[in-house]
Amino acid sequence: MDFLVPKLSATMEQAKVLRWLKQPGDKIRSGEALVELETDKAAMEVESPVDGVLEEILVGEGADVAVGAKLAEIGEAGGSATTAPVETKPRPTAAPAPPPVKAPVAPPARPAPAVPPRAAPPPPAARILASPLARRLARERGVDLAVLARTKTGRIRKADVLAATGAARAPASATRPSPVPAHPATDAAAEPLTPMRARIAETVTLSRQTIPAFTLDRFVSTEAVARARAELGPAVERDAGVKLTLTDFLLQALADALGQNPVMLQRFADASGRPGSVRHGQVDIGLVVAVEGGMMIPVLPDLGGRSLAEVGVARRDAVQRVRSGRLVAGDGAPVPIALSNLSRGGADRFEAIIGPGQSSVLAVGREHEAVVARGGMPVVTTGVHLTLSVDHRLIDGVVGATFLGQLADRIEFGPWQS
């Protein structure tokens, strides 16, 4: 089985191998420390999840490794294959002071591990096993097979890709693999998940397991939006037949901000077994739409430079596609970012989960009155919390903060054009 670099803290993205505590050929017991890693927080020992033999060390001491990278190969006692990634239990040691941050390391590589110094050339990148159908779906929907491969033992199949995209299509049968056991042996009364639920469960699990995200927050006033809506809404409704909503304004602002910050249009992707990024050519935005028992994310393509009327029509059509169950091929296309607008919900702010294949997601909380300071005076205004979650593998905090600031300005100050 693979012995991987665990994510030992919320912000951990990489680690340095300080010291191997076991050598190849050593017998190891479950819970026994195998390696000492240095993270951004502390030095930690990582324990073996199983009984067995340390067969091969793939990363030498002193090397930097990314979360999820393979450290070693463990031969399990009894030889049974596992289907889950290694669960490791970090145990803090008496940590020396954190060393200074080193030069940036490469994003996590799968499956080639970081190269140990003075070691033999690395083994060639193992081929990602995926069925032809899974490869096609992944290609069409922008799913990174390398990401899926980290959590999948054996061949990646249709169900895995669909789960990763949260696509609408139900799996052909309830017997397809699901991360949540359909019939947990310990609870006979449990109802199996609906196919949509199972897929969402798998997707969000995958996201949490594989995407090192950080979150940025900003409160913005929607007073300007409300004024523009009252001013422009009737004409748009008359001419384009669509009633403008806050979502349309948010989408137009988001599209403009993305246009100014094309770095936010990157997507994390598999580049022949190595991590890579895809620069998305146009401003495509996924829109999270709630449906009974779950949610879907249709795609609003090419929103750059669109009028509010055009955005409104695109938004209305997308929602209708979801509600009528008639998603089009483009709805499975990869998008760099999604918008989840719960402005009419009950939570002031919330953090959305980045879909596999996306690099960020914008969550919009309850539209509500709040006291803000303006020009040294407390002012009551109406607004929303924007919560932006970002994949740190591609985008750093300063970039995200700049983007969020520009987005907030755009929402608060317009200009709005029908």
Partner: protein, 323 residues
């Protein structure tokens, strides 16, 4: 629709066609007054006489070759091969003469003839009398090869084969002879070739021939209990092999399983898998699987023979391992 056996369906087709066209005659071993071991020609001799219902010597090369001679000179002969296993005896006539004569003449000589070969395992006949032989002639251009899986198919396909202007090999199955089913007596002549979907399903495509069709349908019943919907397709004709509808099904189900009563190497399942892989590669979610006989001759002892023939359980288990 009448409920009759596969044997009666064959007989009905022969009778009907021979009454319709007096250029049709049938030759074979023990098909005359004795009625033969499988009784697929019973009563024909009495009705049509010795000129059109001809008992031959045990000489497949002789009478199968003679069928070609009759066909190219104006008759429409049917040759019955008592056991499909005996096709080996007349291989040269089929491969080098019958299949090629029209071609070698530049298309000028028509050869409308039918070879009926009764094959298949399950009746404890041992290794030399239990083969379906269905793939033996698969690589021979110039032949049409069909495999009726039910009484209605036997009736319809045999009539269509007799009316075809080219050589047709009809593989019948002796384990099916006594099975009953609805037959559209006097109904329209069905297409001679091309597969037929017998049971729709969304989760796996199961393609079978001859007696394996019934077993595939039984397997589909077993799978349905587990919530797996198998689409069962009767391949019907091996040559020409139209895998278009099979690929179409796989585009929907993403899983392909073939079931045939012969050894895996050289079976038609490999060709179906190859063609479907060529035309629907991006829709396959698992490697195509073939359920076949093991790679040894059909054994005699009942438990051994039963274990060798693909069972509904084995077919179902194969499907389950893929979905």
């Amino acid at each position: 629709m009448q409920e009759i056996t596969y044997r009666e369906a064959i007989l009905a087709a022969l009778q009907e066609e021979m009454r319709r066209d007096d250029k049709i005659l049938i030759m074979g071993e023990d098909i005359g007054p004795s009625g033969g071991p499988f009784k697929t020609c019973q009563g024909l001799y009495e009705e049509f006489g010795p000129a059109r219902v001809r008992d031959t010597p045990i000489a497949e090369t002789g009478f199968v070759g003679a069928a070609l001679g009759l066909a190219i000179t104006g008759y429409r002969p049917i040759a019955e091969i008592m056991f499909a296993d005996f096709l080996g005896v007349c291989f040269d006539q089929i491969v080098n003469s019958i299949a090629k004569h029209r071609f070698m003449s530049g298309g000028k000589v028509k050869a409308p003839l039918v070879i009926r070969a009764i094959g298949g395992a399950g009746l404890r006949f041992g290794a030399q009398h239990s083969q379906t032989g269905e793939s033996w002639l698969l690589s021979v251009p110039g032949l049409t090869i069909v495999c009726p899986s039910s009484p209605n198919e036997a009736y319809g396909m045999l009539r269509a084969a007799i009316r075809a202007d080219n050589p047709v090999i009809v593989f019948e199955h002796k384990a099916l002879l006594s099975t009953k089913g609805p037959v559209d007596i006097g109904g329209p002549i069905p297409p001679l070739t091309g597969p037929r979907v017998l049971r729709p399903g969304s989760d796996a495509t199961v393609v079978a021939s001859l007696a394996m069709v019934g077993r595939a349908l039984e397997a589909a019943e077993l799978l349905a209990k587990d919530g797996i919907e198998a689409e069962v397709i009767d391949i019907r004709s091996l040559r020409p092999m139209d895998t278009g509808p099979i690929a179409e099904s796989v585009r929907k189900t993403n899983i392909l399983v073939t079931v045939e009563e012969q050894a895996q190497i050289g079976g038609w399942g490999g060709e179906v898998a190859a063609q479907v892989t060529e035309s629907a590669f991006d829709y396959l979610d698992a490697p195509p699987a073939r359920v076949t006989l093991p790679d040894y001759p059909v054994p005699y002892s009942p438990p051994l023979e039963d274990a060798a023939i693909p069972s509904p359980e084995r077919i179902a288990a194969t499907v389950k391992s893929l979905v």
